[in-house]
């Protein structure tokens, strides 16, 4: 384990290329990202501050702060940052590292549960099914949510990559370990 910056370059670099992640060091703390952030309007997310914390190697503080998971990945800050800092991708990289170290937020893990159970982050619910029927469509769309064999393929991917372990998935209850169906402890 190196500094957070080094780990981010190593981890994010694999996905986006090193130079992409290295833009973190070009941040001048102008605050235009926070100022543009639709999430920060309602939450405690201070995008600029995350980058300052990353540069000062405040790994534990970042990984344990719920704010890291408040970004909606809308890329507004990414488009407006005057220094071309790859803001949103930096946040995604920090999340990847945090997840690997067991810090994924419950709502994000719950999204994993939905994919595991239905093949979709946002599966069709009763209202959508009604709507489909009303307009003369099959109640179920022809996806993994409908076809068991396809869903099994999705689940195989998750098993093989160890994603199930990462989010602490319980194959018996088909939910997070130690959680009831609502996703609360």
């Amino acid at each position: 384990m190196g500094t957070l910056y080094e780990d981010m370059v190593a981890c994010g670099g694999e996905i986006f290329g090193d130079e992409h992640i290295e833009t973190l060091r070009e941040c001048v703390q102008c605050g235009k990202c926070t100022a543009s952030c639709p999430s920060g309007r309602n939450t405690a997310l201070r995008t600029r501050k995350l980058f300052q914390m990353a540069l000062t190697d405040m790994r534990e503080e970042i990984f344990n702060s719920p704010e890291l998971w408040f970004c909606s990945t809308c890329y507004t800050c990414y488009e407006r940052c005057p220094k071309g800092v790859k803001t949103t991708d930096l946040i995604r990289t920090m999340r990847n590292l945090a997840a690997k170290e067991g810090h994924m937020s419950v709502p994000h893990r719950m999204i994993g549960v939905y994919v595991m159970k239905t093949g979709h982050a946002v599966p069709l619910g009763p209202a959508q099914k009604e709507l489909r029927k009303a307009v003369g469509l099959d109640e179920m769309a022809p996806t993994a949510q409908k076809y068991k064999d396809q869903l099994e393929q999705v689940q195989t991917i998750f098993r093989t990559t160890g994603y199930d372990a990462m989010i602490d998935f319980d194959w018996d209850t088909m939910n997070l370990k130690g959680m009831d169906k609502g996703g609360k402890k």
Partner: protein
């Protein structure tokens, strides 16, 4: 490889030393080379073993003596060369030091002062090419330094003396751009007693400064600073003022630039116009956006750009005049007007100055030097679309603000938005500057201070207004700037750190909302504002593009005109006799613009006073005996220096125009076009000497490194592996062995 060798301790190398060369006893008429290796303090010595390089130099053919010294460019350093020359010891000089851009002129002069033709001087750059880039590689950098010295020695023996030529300088100057920079350049030259042609594309001189209300940090009225100078320019007997004109063509060279200037018709006889304004009231066109007021007001088709314009005459704007655009104004037709039978309203009102018969004219000039002072344009505020310029009228540019606060502006100097005095005013810094996303990475240098000035102006006029300046850094570096910034804050202007992210409007509200983060608190805010002023940056004037191609100027990555050297030659260009000054070269304030304008005047006067200029002798030469007159070289010559002698059917070179770029040399199929000072044999000797590898240990190391790379490459690719290996082998064998 890579680590500094322990045994190399640069502090042990004495400040000077010398070694007798192997050609010490050579006869006087053979090349006798002196090699002088410089430490550059410790810049070179720290990495390159200068003692070793000196010993090696002494072992090379034709070298009579090799010396090393702590600073070759210093007087005692140059004395080493002077002494050897005076004693008749050497007749060729090589200094192994820094870039020729830095000190070639210095050492050429050392040689010529001692009676040696300066083209017998040669340079090996062992600083920029060795010690600086290879700081961690002492051994390799030293080897490379030796190789560069070896190639300089090989070339030096083949050098020929060249004579510098002089051309006469026409004692007139062309200044392009009549902003504050061009005006000051023109005035200095004119006051020095020489003729200046000042070409300004707009109807009046003055540039952007004419639009400003006050100037930082002294808060003087821009008009009262500028007007006296404008009048002086307009009335100066040595200044040929050509407003509403543009340069169409420039050719030629230092001392003799041939220029064609297009003079657009104003449709006004400037001698007869009484500045009475009667035509304006008569003109039916009233809705042309007034460019001087940044579109905040309108004007008629016949107009004077601003009250203190120079020359103080009206202009008919052909793009908007009904008669010129549509052929008919009122009952008058263009043909009827030209025949003198009909008259549009302006002509009827005018006491005889309007002349619709005027035509575009081309004026031809010959000048000795050219000064480019075309200034800037503000960056389009829409590049940061999130600030909604053009969407909400409450959002304006700083240049519009200058017009709002100017007594000659659309509101007579009153700050009003939508007819009301603003209560909350927000300034935003760095709009279109320091911003990679909009392509301008540079700082525009003036906006921090003009924002401070404008914030002060709001406070002065509306003491109860809430004035917020949002910023990322405040750059207050000039004389009196920091003090001024402090004063403005004391007046109650609040500086809030952080660049706003966006501006929006709540439904049904007049005011806008600025969203930002106060980064020092780490808290986001939403600030309602009646007025938002965008601190727009400065970009090169779009009109400069044709000038760039006519004068073959270069631009820096930021798009501004490029100087010959960013530190040492800030107003020169790569072409002698062409100068750049003011905001066309980089953003700057009035003080710096004037300083540069005056610097270009001084640069021009140097040539005018002497009446002569030296031209570069290292240029193309055509061997007429071999030239087949194919004229292929004519197509590649970017300067138009070549012309075919139709009678003798051979190419000729205009020596004053040729810049010695070598294009003709490389395309000439018969080998007739060669470059003086860069003859093929001189360059080949240099290349051959460079490709010799002398250090056998190093050769082995290089070979094994190459083999390792090849092995790695072939590890994945099975069938190409052996080929790569073979290739490497033959290549190494082809390298000539030690010389």
């Amino acid at each position: 490889m890579g680590d500094l060798e322990e045994e190399y301790d640069y502090t042990k190398i004495p400040p000077t030393g010398s070694v007798e060369g192997i050609a010490a006893g050579a006869p006087e008429d053979s090349p006798r080379i002196g090699v002088y290796v410089c430490h550059c303090g410790i810049n070179i010595k720290m990495v390159v073993d200068v003692g070793d390089v000196t010993r090696y130099a002494a072992s090379l053919p034709n070298v009579v003596v090799a010396r090393h010294y702590i600073f070759m460019c210093s007087d005692p350093g140059q004395d080493l060369i002077r002494k050897d020359l005076a004693e008749g010891r050497v007749n060729r000089v090589i200094v192994a030091s820094c870039s020729p851009r830095m000190h070639e002129p210095t050492f050429r002069k050392t040689c010529s002062d001692s009676g040696l033709n300066p083209f017998y001087y040669e340079m090996a750059n062992i600083r920029e090419h060795c010690s600086w880039p290879h700081g961690d590689f002492h051994k390799e950098a030293t080897e490379k330094a030796k190789e560069l010295v070896r190639s300089a020695v090989a070339r030096s023996a083949l050098l020929e003396p060249l004579e510098e030529k002089l051309v006469d300088v026409k004692p007139e100057v062309l200044v392009i751009g009549g902003g504050v920079t061009g005006m000051y350049a023109a005035l200095d030259i004119a006051n020095g007693g020489y003729k200046v042609h000042l070409v300004e594309k707009k109807p009046s001189i003055g540039g952007h400064v004419a639009q400003l209300s006050r100037t930082f940090p002294t808060l003087e009225r821009a008009a009262s600073l500028l007007t006296p100078r404008m009048i002086e320019v307009g009335a100066h007997p040595n200044i040929d003022l050509m407003t509403y004109s543009e340069v169409e063509e420039i050719g030629g060279y230092i001392g003799n630039f041939d220029v064609k200037v297009k003079r657009k018709p104003r449709y006004i006889d400037t001698e007869k116009c009484k500045d009475c304004e009667k035509c304006v009231a008569a003109c039916p066109v009233t809705d042309v956006p007034d460019e001087f007021n940044e579109g905040l007001s309108t004007r008629s088709a016949i107009y004077i750009p601003f009250p203190f314009a120079v020359p103080p005459v009206y202009t008919v704007d052909a793009e908007h005049c009904l008669l010129l655009k549509e052929g008919k104004c009122g009952d008058a037709t263009l043909d009827g007007v030209k025949e003198g039978k009909e008259a549009p309203p302006c002509l009827e009102a005018c006491p005889g100055a309007i002349d619709f018969g005027q035509k575009e004219e081309i004026e031809e000039l010959t000048v000795g030097t050219v000064i480019v002072a075309t200034g800037y344009d503000i960056v389009e505020p829409t590049v940061s679309a999130e600030y909604k310029y053009g969407v909400y009228p409450n959002v304006i540019t700083a240049l519009e603000f200058e017009r709002l606060t100017s007594p000659s502006g659309p509101t007579g100097g009153k700050i009003v938005v939508n007819g009301k005095e603003p209560k909350d005013v927000v300034f935003i810094s760095c709009v279109g500057s320091r911003n990679k996303q909009v392509g301008n990475e540079y700082c525009s240098r003036v906006c921090c201070m003009y924002i401070a000035k404008q914030a002060h102006q709001v406070k002065e006029q509306l003491p109860d207004a809430n004035v917020i300046v949002t910023f990322q850094d405040v750059r207050a570096f000039g004389k009196g700037f920091e003090e001024f910034y402090g004063d403005v804050k004391k007046e109650g202007v609040f500086y809030m750190r952080g660049l706003p992210g966006e501006i929006y409007k709540k439904p049904g509200r007049d005011r806008v909302v600025v969203r930002g983060e106060n980064t020092l608190l780490g808290e986001p805010y939403e600030q309602e504002a009646d007025l938002v002023v965008l601190g727009v940056g400065l970009a090169p004037n779009k009109g400069v593009e044709s000038i760039i191609s006519m004068l073959k100027l270069s631009t820096s990555v930021d798009g501004f005109l490029m100087e010959a050297h960013p530190k040492l030659r800030p107003v020169d260009t790569a072409t002698d006799g062409i100068f750049i000054a003011g905001c066309c070269a980089s953003p700057k304030d009035i003080t710096d613009s004037i300083a540069q304008g005056k610097a270009t005047a001084s640069g021009s006067l140097l040539y005018l006073v002497q009446g002569r200029a030296v031209i570069e002798p290292a240029i193309s030469q055509i061997n007429e005996e071999i030239c087949i007159g194919c004229a292929r070289c004519v197509d590649v010559c970017p300067y138009g220096a070549l012309e075919l002698d139709e009678v003798r059917h051979v190419m000729t070179v205009n020596e004053a125009v040729c810049k010695g770029c070598g294009g003709c040399n490389s395309v000439c199929p018969s080998g007739a076009a060669t470059m003086k000072h860069y003859r093929d044999r001189q360059v080949y000797a240099q290349i051959e000497a460079l490709t010799e590898i002398t250090d056998v240990g190093m050769l082995a190391e290089l070979e094994s490194a190459a083999a390792a790379v090849a092995a790695e490459a072939s590890a994945g690719a099975t069938d190409t592996g052996s080929e790569t290996g073979e290739g490497e082998g033959t290549e190494t064998e082809a390298v000539p062995s030690a010389g």
